[in-house]
Subunit: 329 residues, 2 copies
Amino acid sequence: MKRKILITGGAGFIGSHLAEKLVDEGHSVIVLDSFITGSINNVRHLIGRDNFQIYRHDVTEPYSVEVDYIYNLACPASPIHYQRNPMKTLLTCIHGTINALDLAVKNKARLLHTSTSEIYGEPAEHSQREQSWGNVNSVGPRSCYAEGKRIAETLLVNYSKEYDVDIRIARIFNTYGPRMQVDDGRVVSNFITQALGNKPITIYGTGLQTRSFCFVSYLIEGLVGLMESDYSLPVNLGCPDERTIKEIAELIIQLVNSRSSIMYGPVPKEDPVRRKPDTSLAKKVLDWRPKINIEDGLHETIKYFQELWPAPVFCTSCYESISHIFSLS
Amino acid sequence: MKRKILITGGAGFIGSHLAEKLVDEGHSVIVLDSFITGSINNVRHLIGRDNFQIYRHDVTEPYSVEVDYIYNLACPASPIHYQRNPMKTLLTCIHGTINALDLAVKNKARLLHTSTSEIYGEPAEHSQREQSWGNVNSVGPRSCYAEGKRIAETLLVNYSKEYDVDIRIARIFNTYGPRMQVDDGRVVSNFITQALGNKPITIYGTGLQTRSFCFVSYLIEGLVGLMESDYSLPVNLGCPDERTIKEIAELIIQLVNSRSSIMYGPVPKEDPVRRKPDTSLAKKVLDWRPKINIEDGLHETIKYFQELWPAPVFCTSCYESISHIFSLS
């Protein structure tokens, strides 16, 4: 069945892959993006398709469109982005979620909200199950994002009870792939950029902290599967393939065939030590399990970065010239 | 030095005691209250005093007054009240805090926000220090209050950094005393009401769960001390005198000289097992330590309930007849 689907943050890394999949499936897709961290380059290939529309809009301001499904992805997601303007991040989580909920009520639409593994903070339990309540510093440097995403979940469950909204909540773990931003300060994008330039790869901390990276195409399958499911409580989406940061660095150096060495720097404040999703709930309720093939995924991501190299184009001024983007207000 | 002081929620249990103290000290006190859980009976004795004004106003709507200090207390605080309208509770925490912060910016005023021990949830650590990050269920039945209060702290620290607001954050533990509401479902008020009526005292759970009760007058001293201090990170305010619920029930039966028996009922979902503040930070930065004399405190509280007995007056319709209360809008 073809749907009218809204994706907030649909010009971002994950949002653009989701938009592409849904456009390819023939749904009518509307993207809203403020372009604070999203990029028109991510969706340029979709512009001109009959079933794709894109609007420049900040989701902290109310908006109105007619839709069946809402994917609420809009939010800066990398620490250097979300810490650049903590209040904006917080208000995007709060008002962005309230506005999406209001739109869902008005349209009797189903709303899938993207939460994050950051809501678990630094839990005692490893790996993280959905029942974990999390261990987060409400007044710490990551609080604008972690607490913003926590209150979004709280708003969703309480609002949905009061106004009978059909909600889905995905807790997304580390994801990588083409269209990651070169300058987002994340492990995979940083390491690839440094390796391509034969510059020292910088590991913050001992390198023994772990992450579990999911290739973006599997995540998208998980998001779409969750939207189509009947499960309205939070579900982890991520890859349980836990690796040390040092392992990732060495793998990227090898895949790029780089002359980079590894340098160590001070660990950022409140950086999580281990991060690994327990995905048994997603397996059970969505029959979803990501493939574990980090070499293939990194190969594809490196290829994307190589095509941008040495002058990655993330031009903001060109947005204005694209007639398909205009304000909703 | 005499100040212009705003107290939101100043007709509530704690707010009214704070208002009384500050009026008695000669400050110019303005109270805002929506009277959703506050009562005019709590501040009736202050109406007519030259340095006291009271307005009916819901803090989720913006407001403007000229003040030096803001005490932000407005929020339903007992589980039966905050769960009656979870979205209202959440929005009071969110918009009430944002509006108080905006007012503080406009006035270059100092803002003391009352947070709660509920932000610790069910932590592994006992007793609770300010460094505890908390263990809270973001989608659970208490989330509207606990997560609402957490995001308020996050809003305070991030907003204060961005707009240079002078903030104070008090994490208040269980408090009791005169002007508790008869029908708020809390341990002390419930037990006293049942004991006075010689009805069975209902303990939910085994009665071995603990709480640490602080008499309201000591808490007020702590709040005023914190406002006058230079300390802008969260500070626990509560009494470290940990008691089991069963002990409290037996003590109240004895003090009331009641014929009540004790009955046991099912424990509410996600009710905390132990709750005890570590108050060493308050001792260090405020030189504040509450007296531990639960018998005296209960005696005074029982006297208050006896004076209301058998027909406690919490009439809402009489608000309209009091000319000092009018909307700010």
